[in-house]
C-alpha cells in the first residue's frame, strides 16, 4: 500500500524513530540549544560536548515526527568524533541532498544518513529532516537563542 513512500520511510527511519540513539540529557554538555520548527511545533533540545575542536558527544531530547526524530538520532551517531569543520561540511552536504540541490543517488560519505535522501521528494518535510542539523550548527556557533527552521 505504501510502496512509493518507502523511499521516505525506510526501515532505518522506523528503527531510529522507535529507538532513538543518544536520546538523553547530557549533564556535562559544553553547549546546549533548543531547536523549534514553528510549522509543525516540533521541538528539540540538543546537547553537545566539544573538546579541543572535536565533537566528543552529542545527545538530544524532544518530540517530533519520525523523520525529525530519525534524522536527529542518525546525526548524533555520525558526527561524534568529527571536528567542527568536518561537521559543518557534513551539514552542508546533508542539506544539499535533502533539498535536492545535490541530486546524486550514491552518498558513501554520508553512510546511514543517506536513507534520508528520500525527503527530497517531499518538500514539505525537508524542515523535519534538517531541524537537528540546524540546531547543531547553531550550537557550534554558540548561538544563545532558540534556533528555528524558518
Amino acid at each position: 500500500m505504501f510502496d512509493e513512500i518507502r523511499d521516505l520511510y525506510q526501515e532505518v527511519v522506523f528503527d531510529h524513530n522507535r529507538n532513538p540513539r543518544n536520546f538523553r540529557v547530557m549533564e556535562d554538555a559544553t553547549r546546549k540549544i533548543d531547536g523549534f520548527n514553528p510549522l509543525c511545533g516540533d521541538r528539540i533540545t540538543l546537547y553537545v560536548k566539544v573538546n579541543d575542536n572535536v565533537i566528543e558527544d552529542v545527545s538530544f531530547q524532544g518530540s517530533g515526527c519520525a523523520i525529525s526524530t530519525a534524522s536527529a538520532s542518525l546525526m548524533t551517531e555520525i558526527v561524534r568524533g568529527h571536528t567542527e569543520e568536518e561537521t559543518h561540511g557534513l551539514f552542508d552536504l546533508f542539506h544539499k541532498i535533502v533539498t535536492g540541490e545535490d541530486s546524486r543517488t550514491n552518498f558513501d560519505e554520508l553512510g546511514k544518513l543517506a536513507v534520508l535522501a528520500g525527503v527530497r521528494a517531499y518538500p514539505a518535510r525537508v524542515k523535519c529532516a534538517t531541524l537537528a542539523w540546524h540546531s547543531l550548527e547553531a550550537a557550534l556557533k554558540e548561538d544563545e537563542e532558540t534556533v528555528s527552521t524558518e
Binding site: F2, F14, C40, D42, S63, C65, I67, T69, R125
Partner: protein
C-alpha cells in the same frame, strides 16, 4: 444510515473532486483550511473577466457600471445570507484576519485606554489573538483569556468572572478550527451586553457549516472568509452594527474611502466604503456572491444536518481504533475531527494519508495555545464539508489503520 443530502449529485458540481492523487481518488478532508469551489463560482469568475470586468465605483463607461452592479449585488447577497439589517453593515475585506485587525485598529485603538481589558478565550486562532496583542501594546490595554475544559469547551463561570467593568470588548470564535467546538455565542453575547460590552465573533469556521443570523445573535461584529465558504480566496466580510461602524474612524486611507480630498483635510466616504480603501477584490467578491447563492440552493440548515451525520459517523468509527485519541470532544461540535495516534506524529500521518489520496491537515492549526493546553505538539485534523461522503470517511479510517500497521 439514511443521509439527508444527495451528495453524489452535489459532488458533480465540484470539478476538483475528480482529481486523482498518487493514483488514487482525491479524498479532500481539509475543508477547515479551505473549501473547494463549485462550478457556479468558477463560471462566475470566468464570466466576469470575459464579459463584465472593469474597476468599480469609478468610470461612467458600461463595463465599470456592470462591474459595480455585480459587486454591489454580491454585497446584497452577503447581507441577506447573514441577515444583516443594511448593506452598509457589510464591509468587504481580504478575509477574517483582516476583519479582526480592522476592528482592533479602528474600534479598539480609538476606544481603549490603559488598563481596559479585551476578553478572548483559550481556543482562539492566532488571528483572534495577535491583533489584540498588538492593540494592547499600542494602548496599554490588557488581554484576558477565558479558560477551556478538557472537552474543549469554554468554562462559562470563568468567562463570566472575567467579564468586568474593565472589559471593553469581547472577541470569541464561533466555531473552533482546531477542536470543532461550537461556542454558546448567544449566551456570551447576552452576558457581555448586560454589562454594555460589545462582542465580535470570528465566524471563519462557523459560516460554512450552519445558519448564521447576525440579528438573531445580536453580535456587534462578525468576521468570515470567502474561501472557506466555497468562494474565492482574497475576499472576506466584516459585518458590524451600523451605529458602531459609523462612529469608528477609517482604518486605511486611499481611494474609494473618501468623499472629498484637499491637502488641508479629507472628508470620508459613507459606509461601507469608508472602510474599503483602494480597489477591492472585485471578481472575488462577485464570486463570493455566487458561492452564497449556490449554498442557499442546498440550504445551510440541510448542510448543517448532513455534516452532523458525517461527524457522528466519523467519530464513531475513529473511536473504534484503540490508539486514537480525539482532541476536541465538546457536546456542541462542527464537522471537525482532530486526533492523535499513540507514538505516531501527526506529520507522519499527514504524509502517509496523502499517499493514499487523503488530504488532512497536520500541525498546530494556527492555535498553538490550544496544542499546549492539550499537551500535544500538533494534531491531525480531518475536516468535513457537505460534499464529503461516508465512503470517504471509511477510506480515512482504513488509511489510519494501515499507518498504525506500518509503524508497528
Amino acid at each position: 444510515m439514511t443521509l439527508s443530502l444527495d451528495v453524489a449529485k452535489i459532488r458533480q458540481d465540484f470539478p476538483i473532486l475528480n482529481e486523482t492523487i498518487h493514483g488514487r481518488p482525491l479524498v479532500y478532508l481539509d475543508n477547515a483550511a479551505s473549501t473547494q469551489k463549485p462550478k457556479a463560482v468558477l463560471d462566475t469568475l470566468r464570466h466576469v473577466y470575459e464579459h463584465d470586468y472593469a474597476n468599480v465605483h469609478r468610470g461612467v463607461h458600461t463595463l465599470s457600471q456592470r462591474s459595480t452592479d455585480l459587486f454591489e449585488g454580491a454585497r446584497k447577497k452577503v447581507k441577506d445570507f447573514i441577515n444583516a439589517r443594511k448593506i452598509e453593515e457589510i464591509i468587504f475585506v481580504r478575509g477574517t484576519t483582516e476583519a479582526v485587525n480592522l476592528v482592533a485598529q479602528s474600534y479598539g485603538r480609538s476606544k481603549l485606554q490603559p488598563g481596559d481589558e479585551i476578553l478572548i478565550t483559550a481556543m482562539e486562532h492566532h488571528s483572534n489573538i495577535v491583533p489584540w496583542q498588538i492593540l494592547c501594546q499600542q494602548t496599554g490595554a490588557v488581554l484576558k483569556v477565558a479558560p477551556i475544559n478538557l472537552s474543549g469547551e469554554i468554562i462559562m463561570e470563568e468567562f463570566e468572572a472575567l467579564l468586568t467593568e474593565r472589559t471593553k470588548l469581547v472577541s470569541v470564535v464561533h466555531m473552533s478550527n482546531a477542536l470543532g467546538t461550537i461556542n454558546p455565542v448567544k449566551r456570551i453575547i447576552e452576558l457581555a451586553h448586560s454589562k454594555g460590552v460589545p462582542v465580535m465573533l470570528d465566524g471563519a469556521q462557523a459560516i460554512p457549516h450552519m445558519v448564521v443570523d447576525v440579528q438573531d445573535l445580536d453580535c456587534d461584529f462578525y468576521a468570515f472568509s470567502g474561501h472557506k465558504l466555497c468562494g474565492p480566496s482574497g475576499i472576506g466580510v466584516l459585518y458590524g452594527k451600523e451605529a458602531l461602524l459609523k462612529a469608528m474612524p477609517p482604518w486605511q486611507g486611499g481611494g474609494d474611502m473618501i468623499r472629498m480630498v484637499t491637502f488641508d483635510k479629507t472628508e470620508y466616504n459613507t459606509l461601507p466604503y469608508k472602510f474599503e480603501a483602494g480597489t477591492p477584490a472585485i471578481a472575488e467578491a462577485i464570486g463570493l456572491g455566487a458561492a452564497v447563492d449556490y449554498l442557499q440552493t442546498i440550504g445551510m440548515d440541510k448542510i448543517a444536518e448532513y455534516e452532523h451525520q458525517l461527524l457522528e459517523y466519523a467519530t464513531t468509527k475513529a473511536l473504534e481504533i484503540p490508539s486514537l485519541k480525539v482532541i476536541g470532544t465538546a457536546k456542541e461540535k462542527g464537522a471537525i475531527l482532530g486526533f492523535t495516534l499513540h507514538h505516531i506524529h501527526p506529520h507522519d500521518i499527514g504524509t502517509m494519508l496523502d499517499q493514499l489520496g487523503i488530504a488532512v491537515r497536520a500541525g498546530h492549526h494556527c492555535a498553538m495555545p490550544v496544542m499546549d493546553f492539550f499537551g500535544v505538539p500538533a494534531t491531525a485534523r480531518a475536516s468535513f464539508s457537505f460534499y464529503n461522503t461516508t465512503e470517504e470517511v471509511d477510506t480515512l479510517i482504513d488509511g489510519i489503520k494501515q499507518i498504525i500497521e506500518v509503524f508497528g
